[in-house]
Symmetry: C2
Subunit: 431 residues, 2 copies
């Protein structure tokens, strides 16, 4: 990893040092995906079968996973893996259920009651990528809040070479009460859920991470008023670690590598106040990397990555706020005090015993988080992502008499006479 001294950089070089890896061929991918979406809209299941043949090399029969496949998935999964999924489910549920918003009721003036009620988004589509490894954890991270919200959830995940969806994903989906899973991956899965086909129900909102094609498809359907809402614009995963002289170089190196192994376009940043820690982390990185099965991928990601030497933890947090990382690890003295200064991040890990991987799997927080700086304006997936808020107002005659004149005066200022009339006819008719 390249080592940079923040104090020696001018403003342009600082901006450059925090630049994410460029998303290549974005426009080209968007055009390809737009064509593919049109095909799915035009020919539904037939297109899904053709695209699955082309991209996944699988001849789909029935697109939906049959009940027998769920049963055999459960039967063939090792008991300890089933137990780990169950355990993670329980903790994710415990944390997410605490975030269910309460209804609100405020009497804003005598006889004027305003409320906020919540409703589950009726139909939601969950996307669980496969890629280089199955991701039962993503099925949990999407399925648990959908279940708590009470949305009707369907899930798409690409078929393996044998035409089946990975058993651990099926088990995790069923654990969250999901009954309908479709053997679909990539942009075609997103298109199917956004517009519906003969097999796949049309979904109001689509969730989940994915590669550049999946992301392009999500952005396209979100921009179409006939399409679907989406959870987040997703990009490659990233971590920013802030380490002072109380950090453990071995732990820090392990955390950087756990992010780097995700993919060659992952980005990891280490900000440190200690030259000794920086040197020790680099040694540890070399040692630990040698033993990793995904060392090649991790090495490519480390090429995109940087170590930045800073003069204080405060400076490091200011840099982090500017970068707005998906994951932020505070391996510093009194990490909790530092948390107060954190302004933009997806999820924060305090101290030396909170590795990012516990958040990825089973601390209880969600791992579907804003990347690529989106943490400045977006939050990770939660129960709220599956809810809508509806406001309600109920007025007594006296309540309308009290606030009606204010509405009429503003309507007049805005030149909207019919708005004023809607109040006036009621006040004239007062019993």
């Amino acid at each position: 990893m390249k080592v940079i001294d923040w104090n020696r950089l001018d403003e342009a070089a600082r901006t450059e040092s925090l630049r994410r890896p460029v998303q290549k061929r974005q426009n080209e991918i968007a055009s390809e995906v737009a064509r593919l979406i049109e095909q799915v809209r035009a020919d539904g299941d037939a297109t899904l079968r053709a695209l699955t043949r082309r991209f996944d090399g699988v001849e789909l029969g029935v697109i939906e996973v049959a009940e027998a496949e769920f049963e055999s998935a459960t039967a063939q999964l090792p008991a300890d893996l089933r137990a780990a999924i169950d355990e993670a489910y329980t903790r994710i549920r415990a944390f997410h259920i605490a975030a269910v918003p309460q209804n609100l009721r405020v009497e804003t003036a005598p006889g004027v009651v305003c409320e906020r009620i919540t409703r589950a988004i009726p139909t939601v589509g969950l996307y669980v990528p496969a890629g280089s490894a199955p991701l039962p954890s993503t099925a949990l991270m999407l399925g648990v809040p959908a279940e708590i919200a009470g949305s009707d959830a369907v899930l798409c995940s690409p078929p393996q070479a044998d035409g089946r969806v990975e058993p651990s994903v099926l088990y995790a989906a069923r654990r969250c009460g999901i009954r309908r899973v479709f053997k679909l991956g990539g942009a075609q899965a997103i298109a199917a859920m956004a517009y519906g086909t003969e097999s796949v129900p049309r979904c109001d909102k689509i969730f989940g991470p994915g590669n550049a094609w999946v992301t392009a498809a999500k952005l396209l359907v979100a921009a179409d008023s006939e399409g679907a809402a989406i959870d987040l614009p997703a990009g490659p995963s990233e971590v920013l670690v802030i380490a002072d002289d109380t950090a453990s170089p071995r732990f820090v190196a392990a955390d950087l590598l756990s992010q780097a192994e995700h993919g060659p376009d992952s980005q990891v940043l280490l900000l440190s106040t200690s030259a000794a820690i920086v040197a020790a982390v680099q040694q540890e990185l070399a040692l630990q990397l040698a033993a990793l099965p995904r060392a090649t991928i991790a090495n490519l990601a480390l090429d995109n990555s940087r170590i930045i030497e800073v003069d204080s933890v405060e400076t490091a947090i200011a840099i982090s706020n500017r970068y707005a990382p998906e994951h932020l690890i505070l391996s510093v003295r009194d990490a909790r005090r530092c948390l107060a200064s954190v302004r933009s991040a997806g999820s924060v890990f305090l101290g030396n015993y909170a590795p990012e991987s516990v958040g990825d799997y089973c601390s209880g927080t969600n791992h579907v988080l804003p990347t690529y700086g989106a943490a400045r304006a977006y939050s990770g997936v939660s129960v709220q992502s599956f809810l809508t808020f509806i406001t309600v107002q109920e007025l007594s005659v006296a309540g309308l008499a009290g606030i009606g004149p204010c509405a009429m005066r503003l309507a007049q200022a805005e030149g909207l006479q019919a708005h004023a009339n809607a109040v006036a006819v009621r006040l004239e008719a007062r019993p």
Copy 2:
């Protein structure tokens, strides 16, 4: 308005009867807007000046509103209008502040503390259209929640022919603590806030309604990872009224017209169980329409609109859930009981004394609401729209020892060895 009997329609005709007015030239507008955004990104303020000359016919000097303009706006505004803005501000604030989310803390396992903290989105851009009338109410609806959240807010609104921003908008903005207002309208205002120029700060999220060009610009910047997040995909305004035989035809007609006067592409729907009410509403519409200054606009909107006769209020609510209206007025016996069946809507008005216009101005709820069916998956603007949630985890050594094996088992199943290592190195090093 066209009258339709729901029971006589087949499924295709039902879908057709709930179709919104087609958004014309969407692709063409998107291409134009994309070029305009590129110009703003390339040439900043110079482009903003050129586009304002072209579209608003105004020669901009300094783009930002000067302190003296705020002062003269306050001075020239009638005292009763200032009072109405102040009154609306107070009630909107009272309702919105109740919705500030609390921090959460859950110990999901012994020694594993998960939290959710909230932060204001650092910089937000508010767009207040001008069009046919000034909209101080929109400045309040965006400014109040931004102020409560604690975001740094800037506001753009098109200059009038005299080169000034409408005084009531300036007064409302300052009432919400907004210090920076820019004389910019249309897609160029959105581009300026999304990417920043010499004068306009770059914003993390952009809020507010607007015409087709503004909406196209918002969708484009939201799809760009270098752009900005947005509040909602906005479309033409709409209301759906459900009226049984307890409704007042006069009130219902006034409500339909208050929506219809917004613009020729507004849509109003009346669903009624009572043929007598339907006939009486039509008579009232003709009477009230004749007296409206914006009768021409309202008439065009009514051409897009429909009265649907239904056999029960339950059927009407099912139709409403399918349509997912921005505004839903329940002028029915026991409206509150019916509310329980409402699944998708922006804001709901219960009974005969809650006209939509109180929600537009001063009941306390927000009037920036999801249109065009977006209420199925989106909520109106609230304080939360200006906040991000950050999750936090802090583990004791014993806490990690407790949940670490679960994370390691799942990491192994997903083929992510470095994720497992990040736990393992800590458990091996346990003090």
